[in-house]
């Protein structure tokens, strides 16, 4: 899955003087207030953070209310989906005209009929709707399956993703992980990808330290 990364950030947290006797709590609540919201500064959504260290000295900033600026280093786990990225989500609703999935449990994605490639056909069996591939009947998408799709567009405020199943290497991840390597040569690879297969990605998802860390320096105002 793309779009997840760990960043090392140098932050300055501005703390209200009323919190001067509980700096640590103030820093944590300040950072927590950023969780699950899109932040332009990070160009993504903060999923988790860890304060690595903070400077011993803090400056009192002049102003109407003299806030305390505490410098600290933190590692941030960010989710920043961009158009044409491959991301994965769990299907929560599936109908004749659309597939709805949630990504990482909080961001919602919808794939409309026009964005589902013709290979998939809607079928109902025993009252349960599925999208089944015409070429391989084992390749099917139903409620509960994990799918890989590409990001078409994104509503940053609500993290509402409009996805697409048009590229050939999208679909149910179970099936793709088994067959992608064999078929890779036959498929057109229009979009830059640097991952080999889904199994490894799952491992990555479990262990954030696997992620390549990008060094960034950001400052944050409250």
């Amino acid at each position: 899955m793309e779009g997840l990364m760990v960043s090392d950030a140098n932050l300055t947290v501005y703390i209200h003087p009323s919190m001067a006797n509980k700096i640590r709590g103030a820093i944590l609540s300040q950072l927590s207030s950023l969780l699950f919201k899109y932040d332009e500064m990070f160009e993504g959504v903060l999923l988790a953070y860890q304060v690595d260290g903070r400077s011993r000295s803090a400056r009192i900033l002049p102003g109407l209310v003299p806030h305390i600026g505490v410098k600290l280093r933190a590692s941030l786990l960010l989710f920043s989906p961009k158009p044409n990225m491959f991301i994965e989500g769990k299907v929560v609703k599936l109908g004749r005209e659309s597939v709805h999935a949630t990504v990482l449990g909080f961001s919602s994605a919808a794939i409309m009929l026009e964005d589902i490639r013709a290979e998939f056909k809607y079928k109902t069996r025993d009252g349960v709707g599925t999208f089944t591939s015409r070429y391989n009947k084992h390749h099917l998408i139903k409620v509960g399956s994990i799918i890989r799709f590409i990001v078409k567009s994104l509503d940053e405020e609500m993290l509402h993703i409009s996805g697409s199943l048009v590229p050939p290497n999208t679909g149910c991840i179970n099936w793709l992980s088994k067959h992608e390597v064999d078929d890779a040569s036959q498929k057109e690879r229009g979009i830059k990808r640097n991952r080999a297969n889904g199994v490894e990605e799952n491992a990555l998802e479990q262990d954030p330290s696997f992620f390549h860390s990008s060094k960034r320096s950001r400052s944050h105002k409250d």
Binding site: K93, L94, R96, S107, S108, A110, G127, D155, H160
Partner: protein, 636 residues
């Protein structure tokens, strides 16, 4: 999107014909939508007409006259929910406007279901309609203006429950698909929450629906917001009732004129798109609302909600959030009168956990050095009133808190303020408030504490005399009525050995001091849990409420085996003319005798008291609470 797979299958099995004609409607509507999805000058006349026809069918303003029309409408809605992805914000703006301004209260069950399904489907289309959909649902938390007259009647209760249930279901299904929807919902609720000026029926249905949300899935995310919004509303209503209104309540209903501008704003908000009901012409009789009545009804809803969550075993969780909003709003609201009783009620449902927590939290605030003095003053007022009035709080808890308070007072006068030897009511107001609280609690609880040997021993070991004799002289500063009663009970129980000068009633008139320590807010006279005066919600409070008349005093009604029978004759004489003790037990069910049970242990600022002090010298007239608010003559 749209039709659930299970549903469509059922449709195939059951009514094959119906399904086919439905699907024909679906495809034709999809076609119309597609054809008008281009710049207006490129749309063919015929398509325009068809689209217009669709708008006529899907129109919130035309009431559906007969069943056929309603069925056609429902079918159109179902068809639209199948093709939501074809609806564009640019080309179908008028259609969307019509859909989002509909009022689900206007339609029957089937149509409502279809409409809500359409809304749910629109909400999950990425990046487009979420906000509008949520807003439409929240607007439907309350009925349209024209239904105000009868919506609260009991025969509508079932319907109201059904509609609320459907709204909750829709919101939950949206949350299931868009997990971050509650964040958005929070903002919308804040924006659309009715104010205390809103008409009673609308306010009540909205709050009812909102609290219903708290107990389902969305409550996981929004519990604290929803509860704090309700508490804020209660405080708003509360502070708009003045004591003057209550005092003259008995015969004149307190009626609040509503500002016309506000009503107009509300009318617009409540019926966007639907008929704006113009009430201006109907005379100003309709514009007058009764704040106490509204507060009473909202209190009933909140108490019922707390009760139901206690049945579900969620009380402790809810109490956490309630306490937060208590600290934020209620504690520092200037003499709030009734809203604090929801905490009283919540505590009464779980005295061991919630009641204890509440009492300890308040004591902590009082003792804490970092809290601001006003909060500490109100906290001590709450502790005193709560421990005295809450029948469910065990004597052991009372004794431990009294002990803590006495220790704090002792510490204050012998350690912190040891250098100052003069009465300074304003400077030492926390100390005086603490002493007054101890005395007030003991007035109510002394007898009960005396009945348990261990607690009696604790009480006798407290340095009460040392505090009362200290040069800071709390007996002359605290409220005379409390001091008098306390001394009387303490003497009878032999809690105090030395005779106190202040036993002389004429000595107790220095209420100027007590005024000074209470400050302009008169926090010396703030007793948050004085008898509850709202009529309908009284049933929640009454069973656990200790009325002064029911308090067993140390000096009266002795059983033969009691060890206090050597009653101090002096104090007995005193008692005969201060009007404190000869109250008879109130019949709990009788409403009329409630008035006489409100005696001077319920102290409320009122002119009588000041007059008594101004006249100087005479015995203070025991302050009396008004009997009871009779908020509304009209049935709900």
């Amino acid at each position: 999107m749209g039709i659930e797979p299970v549903r469509s299958d059922m449709a195939i099995q059951e009514v094959e014909d119906g399904y086919l004609s439905d699907s024909a409607v679906h495809s034709s509507i999809a076609e119309i939508l597609e054809r008008v999805s281009k710049p207006p000058n490129m749309v063919a006349e015929r398509d325009k007409d068809l689209y217009e026809q669709l708008l006529v069918i899907v129109n919130p303003l035309t009431r559906k006259k007969n069943l056929d029309e309603e069925i056609l409408f429902a079918t159109a809605l179902k068809a639209l929910s199948g093709v939501v992805y074809k609806i564009s914000t640019i080309y179908h703006a008028s259609l969307l406007r019509n859909i989002f301004s509909m009022c689900i209260w206007d339609y029957g069950l089937d149509t409502r279901t279809a409409l809500l399904e359409l809304i749910a489907n629109l909400a999950v289309v990425p990046d487009k309609f979420l906000e509008d959909s949520l807003e439409m649902l929240v607007r439907n938390f309350q009925p349209p203006e024209r239904m105000c007259g009868y919506i609260c009647q009991t025969r509508w209760r079932g319907e109201r429950k059904r509609i609320n249930g459907q709204l909750h279901e829709t919101l939950c299904s949206i949350t299931h698909l868009v997990p971050l929807a509650p964040f958005k919902l929070k903002g919308i609720l804040h924006r659309m929450m009715p104010t205390f000026r809103t008409r009673k029926a609308l306010l009540v249905t909205f709050v009812e629906c909102m609290l219903g949300l708290e107990s389902n899935e969305i409550g996981e995310y929004l519990s604290s917001t929803l509860l704090s919004m309700v508490v804020d509303l209660l405080v708003d209503l509360d502070v708009n009732i003045t004591w003057e209104d209550i005092l003259k309540e008995d015969h004149n209903r307190s009626i609040f004129d509503m500002e016309v501008e506000d009503l107009e704003n509300n009318a617009e908000n409540n019926s966007v798109g639907s008929q704006i009901v113009c009430r201006k012409g109907e005379g100003f009789g309709d514009l007058k609302y009764n704040m106490t009545d509204k507060l009473d009804c909202v209190m009933v809803i909140v108490c019922e909600h707390i009760k139901s969550s206690a049945c579900d075993g969620r009380l402790v969780k809810i109490f956490e959030t309630l306490i937060e909003s208590f600290l934020k709003t209620v504690l520092n609201a200037h003499k709030s009168k009734f809203s604090q009783f929801i905490f009283f009620y919540a505590c009464s449902l779980d005295p061991e956990i919630c009641g204890l927590k509440f009492a300890i939290l308040l004591t902590d605030i009082f003792v804490s050095k970092t809290e601001d003095p006003i909060s500490r003053m109100s906290a001590i007022a709450y502790v005193a009133s709560f421990l005295s009035r809450a029948r469910f709080i065990s004597s052991a808890v009372v004794s431990s808190i009294v002990k803590r308070l006495v220790e704090w007072c002792y510490d204050f006068c012998y350690v912190q303020a040891s250098t100052e030897r003069i009465k300074n009511p304003r400077g030492h107001r926390l100390f005086y408030a603490g002493c007054q609280a101890v005395m007030y609690i003991l007035c109510f609880r002394m007898r009960l504490l005396m009945d348990i040997p261990e607690l009696k021993e604790i009480l006798f070991n407290l340095p009460l005399e040392a505090i009362l004799c200290h040069p800071l002289d709390p007996l002359r500063v605290c409220l005379p009525t409390i001091v008098q009663e306390f001394l009387r009970q303490a003497m009878a129980a032999h809690l105090l050995k030395k005779p106190f000068l202040s036993c002389d009633p004429n000595d107790l008139l220095e209420s100027e001091f007590s005024k000074a320590f209470g400050g302009v807010e008169r926090l010396d006279m703030f007793f948050p849990f004085d008898p509850y005066l709202l009529k309908q919600s009284d049933r929640f409070m009454r069973p656990n409420f200790e009325f002064w008349s029911m308090v067993k005093k140390t000096y009266s009604n002795f059983n033969s085996d009691d060890d206090f029978d050597d009653l101090d004759p002096e104090s007995a004489d005193e008692g005969s003319h201060d009007g404190l003790d000869d109250e008879e037990l109130v019949d709990e069910d009788g409403e009329d005798d409630l008035g006489c049970s409100m005696n001077n242990m319920s102290i409320t600022p009122r002119p009588v008291f000041e007059m008594a002090t101004a006249s100087g010298g005479s015995i203070p007239i025991p302050s009396r609470m008004p009997a009871r608010i009779r908020p509304s003559v009209s049935p709900i």
